[in-house]
Symmetry: C2
Subunit: 409 residues, 2 copies
């Protein structure tokens, strides 16, 4: 039951010139599930990726990094669900390479032009034969209008497919931006999430793409958390096919470039928020804004301490304004010289704490009113400086325990 | 339903010469609950404390620190449950001082000779009048045999009272060590826990006591976690009354001193483990031993990452050997140059992972067998060095969510 996430309308997902998706049922883990997807790119497309910083990163993440470094021109992405191909040692790496080689054969390109992605259970051998056997069907399904099918094809414990799409105009040309994402548990992305794919037909200097991908990830997927568990497979990929017909963007300072970047960020952020809204067991979408820090890093550190506190998350679930738990999390976030007498706390418009203690006009029923909402903003002011940062998360419910206690059974 | 924690037998708690406890019902938050305790010390006792590093530390913690620094000779501790007196600003500090002053009046000592402790809900005004009114009844109850009553008197969400006791012989004199602890949620002590009191009638050079208290806390309370939430009120207090009749201990290298320290550590560790065994919703007691690190700090960092992972904790609850989740936690623990191909993982005697991947002889039914136990040891070898460290935790169950969603209602 995702939090305020309207059903996906395939008609609102704009095709991106130069991008086609094909999806099939390969039986990776369970029968009758769309579990194998390919994203086919026209020649000339540029691709940049941002991957998990988990040192136990999955085999496909390692292969993606290699293939992107070779700059050989990516022609396809292949994504399976049902198995993460992580914690699988040398055979896992061999399986990821074997998948790339099989798809390269079919597309008559080099193996290094394929990027592999896997998501699902960790430490199980990848059923590479079933994946390879499914590739022709996935290719036969390829179509520019398949974004909604692909959003479904990459789901694991997600309850709904997640996609976002926008159009902007540059030099009279219509530019399309469309993306999909998945992920509902093991979510505290560190440099990217598991998984996000955004494509645009805008023309962008390929040299600008890696930094742009990182900037988009930092403003979206790297600001969300569900359970604090950074996945082994987090990957965010940005594709630019350059087919929209305008002159390539070479400088972000240009107004048209700013328009494009803002639209890309909005798509990335919508996709990241969708992951939180569909977080395992989530019943609330919570924005944690920390202000008044010396630098953004310490604001983010405090925001994550609040976002990861099981006590704060269960209070949110219960709509219980037991707000001292937020103060405790602020206190243990790791700022050694924090002065508790300067802390201010707002819950939406309700001023809860001033000068470190309960605000004299704070009434429990006001806190209760906000806690009952499905969207809540926690705003903490540290009283130390001018920096701020924001993190998005969800609550911790019985369903989180149920889902994760039963995931494999 | 604590994990393998036998019921408290008051007869097994040895009185400590020079220590008396009195307990009463002061109605701090709810009626008919033992919620106010005093620990009375004979003149000459030495006291050392270790307190939370939460920067939002409670008012009584601040007052304890002041009073211990004044070296005026502690004569009594006063502990209330039902209210943490944290996040209460200047009035909270005034209330803590007022409690000390009232007890000092009754005992005809100085206010600086009293240490105050509070535990319960954060950010509610302390009902200081009810506490002060309850002090005479607590004093009237004072008795050397009251350790079990005191263990009950300091409980909050604990389901059972927690105590431990030992006797050792030094120079033919019997030395008593007895302690009590409480805590079931908001438990990831940082320098101490919420709350632990250990007393001995051993004669120990008072100058050695602060370092000893820290060493005991580091080997016990600072190695446990339930939900990663470091409390605002964590306090561990060590009392030595010096009445056992042997010559004072001045050097830990002496054999008799080592005997005493080992016994003190065993009592502290039993009390710390009892907190985990009675952790909110706990159904399993989990030991996480990380070996092969470059230094103990990184071993502890990895152990805490595993211990705090909601995915690992829910898998433990479900007895599901979804052990890739442990690898993921090892990977995101923050060791930047970790080599995943060197990782070894054992679950009790079962070798699960070798060389970073699934052990060829590992069978799911063996993992399943261990996961079904109520006591599980997770042993990770990092393959980087000779250091090791251990952390104790529990699983994450439906009852954790229920308890914390309903705590105040």
């Amino acid at each position: 039951m995702p939090v305020n996430l309207p059903p996906l309308d395939p008609a609102q997902l704009h095709p991106v010139a130069g991008v086609r998706w094909g999806v099939t049922e390969a039986g990776v883990r369970k029968a009758n599930r769309k579990d194998l997807s390919v994203m086919l790119l026209d020649e000339g497309a540029s691709v940049a990726g941002v991957f998990t910083r988990n040192r136990y990163c999955a085999a496909p993440v390692q292969v993606c990094r290699e293939h992107l470094q070779s700059h050989s021109g990516v022609r396809a992405l292949v994504i399976n669900t049902g198995n993460a191909n992580a914690g699988t040692g040398a055979s896992g790496l061999a399986h990821a390479r074997q998948t790339c080689a099989a798809l390269a054969d079919l597309l008559q390109c080099a193996s290094g032009q394929i990027l592999p992605f896997s998501t699902g259970v960790i430490m199980e051998p990848l059923p590479v034969d079933r994946i390879v056997a499914g590739l022709p069907a996935a290719l036969a399904d390829a179509h520019a209008d398949n974004w909604a099918r692909a959003a479904e094809g990459i789901m694991t414990t997600d309850t709904v497919p997640k996609a976002a799409s926008m159009q902007v105009e540059i030099e009279g040309q219509r530019v399309n931006i469309t993306g999909i994402s998945k992920g509902a548990g093991m979510i505290r992305p560190n440099m990217a999430t598991m998984l996000g794919f955004v494509a645009t037909d805008a023309a962008i200097d390929p040299d600008l793409l890696p930094a742009l991908a990182r900037e988009l990830a930092d403003g979206s997927f790297n600001r969300i958390t569900i359970d604090g568990d950074t996945s082994t497979n987090d990957s965010f990929v940005l594709v630019a096919t350059h087919q929209a017909g305008h002159a390539p963007i070479r400088d972000w300072a240009e107004p048209r470039a700013q328009t494009l970047k803002a639209a890309l960020m909005q798509v990335a952020r919508t996709l990241a928020h969708a992951i939180v809204r569909d977080g395992e067991g989530a019943t609330k979408f919570i924005t944690i804004a920390v202000e008044g820090g010396r630098h953004a890093d310490e604001c983010r550190q405090v925001a994550y301490a609040i976002a990861h506190s099981p006590l704060v998350k269960t209070a949110m679930y219960a709509s219980d304004p037991n707000l001292g738990r937020i103060l405790a999390a602020v206190g243990y976030a790791g700022i050694e010289d924090l002065d508790q007498t300067l802390i201010e706390l707002h819950l939406d418009d309700v001023h809860v704490v001033t000068g470190g203690g309960r605000h004299p006009h704070y009434r429990e029923e006001d806190g209760q009113r906000v806690m009952k909402q499905s969207e809540i903003t926690v705003r903490v002011h540290l009283g130390r400086g001018q920096a701020c940062d924001t993190v998005w998360t969800c609550d911790l419910s019985h369903d989180y325990v149920t889902i994760n206690a039963d995931y494999r059974s």
